[in-house]
Symmetry: C2
């Protein structure tokens, strides 16, 4: 019947106020907060309290500070870097296994490709084609992976769903870091690499033809093929149940 008392620490109250001001739109991305010493007066707290609050907001990706600026901390729009950093930490703490990230990529990738097939513009198609060209031109694994990521980023953009876009970007970054090279798409001029690029061309063709079902199916299969080699039988099964029924039998063994 009693609610737990919340012992508010001073800097938490400061964080909450600034957070609300940003979320409510009072401060838009690109705006500048008052300088630290002014915030000290406004909030009626000590400088270190304000600074600790700013450190928290900075680690969340809401603000950015730079010495010498005449305008105070800058409100920056994207919290994606902060989310990526934390998610990466979660994976490193073994709180989230890699197989679940790949699982998510298969789910979200299929949906994004399906949506993109219906909503894409000609400009999206051009950017996807450019990304595939960059994959072919890549000489090292990092460049190749970056181009691959670029392709998927365009797909998410074309899908027009911000949730898929934000989370997909974060998960993609995290997987890129975690499986760097070892499990990722092959970089050499091998048969696997050509096959991987050919898969992307087929996906692009499906999206061009507004064939969402095919695009989704191809995207799932490509992701499964790219990562299944590095997983054991049980983990592969957790991925295979997400594939279409007809291909599930042939790949789940």
């Amino acid at each position: 019947m009693f609610t737990p008392v919340d012992k508010k620490r001073a800097f938490e109250a400061v964080v909450q106020q600034i957070e609300s001001a940003i979320y409510s739109g009072e401060y838009a991305p690109g705006d500048f907060l008052p300088p630290e010493r002014t915030l000290v007066e406004d909030f009626g707290v000590g400088r270190s309290t304000v600074r600790e609050a700013l450190r928290i907001l900075e680690s969340m990706g809401l603000v950015r500070t730079s010495p010498g600026s005449r305008s105070g901390p800058e409100v920056c729009g994207s919290v994606t870097p902060g989310l990526t950093r934390m998610l990466r930490g979660a994976v490193r703490m073994e709180e989230i296994p890699v197989v679940e990230l790949v699982q998510y990529r298969i789910i979200a990738g299929a949906a994004a490709n399906r949506l993109a097939a219906h909503l894409r513009t000609d400009e999206h198609l051009e950017r996807m084609a450019a990304a595939i060209e960059a994959m072919e031109a890549a000489t090292d694994a990092a460049t190749f992976a970056a181009a691959d990521d670029g392709f998927h980023a365009v797909v998410r953009d074309a899908a027009g769903n911000r949730v898929l876009g934000i989370v997909g970007g974060v998960i993609q970054d995290a997987t890129l870091d975690l499986v760097a090279g070892a499990v990722g798409p092959p970089a050499g001029a091998s048969r696997m690499r050509r096959e991987f690029i050919a898969d992307h061309r087929r996906i692009l063709a499906a999206i061009t033809g507004r064939d969402g079902d095919t695009a989704a199916r191809l995207a799932s299969q490509t992701l499964y093929d790219a990562y299944s080699g590095a997983l054991d039988k049980d983990q592969r099964h957790r991925l295979a149940v997400l594939l279409e029924p007809d291909v599930r039998d042939s790949r789940d063994h």
Copy 2:
């Protein structure tokens, strides 16, 4: 060709060292870091520097501080609360339209139900059945919505994918806030309400029978039916493209 120079701030170096120590397993969850004053000596920096570093680590969910402890900051295992908090902020700041939230729920809900059908235990089935009972017993809209949310939460739990679970929980909260009552599932003893509950029973039956395809299809349709009434024709189309081909034609008009 040039990499941006990283002006190291002292507290960032401290964060990095402690972060690495935790990730490497040198400090396991439940362990205690040295007290602030000891860290000051170890790192050779000022007190405020150590404290700002600890604030960052705390906002990432890696450590927890409490006054009076004889042992210093505690290393805590789960980063999930921090992730949820940041993701909620991202959703709030992007001002994501309702249709995109529903779109995401259809995508993630279908996948979660598919996975749950394969991985569920008997205990999960009991909890789902209990949630449905709670829906039937509900007399007001809020209780009904809470029971519905509970059902989906169990499904996500059974699906065993933490990314799906974390993001799904945040999005579910967001939709609950945004469409509170107005668009949500019907609360009265209407035909729609009985139909809504019957849908959940069918989903539970499919999950019980380990029929992932059916569970996924039913979940998508139920979500679509629940929210499509409040959306216009163009928005309904963005949802309908996510449904199965055979039902798409009959519902997309």
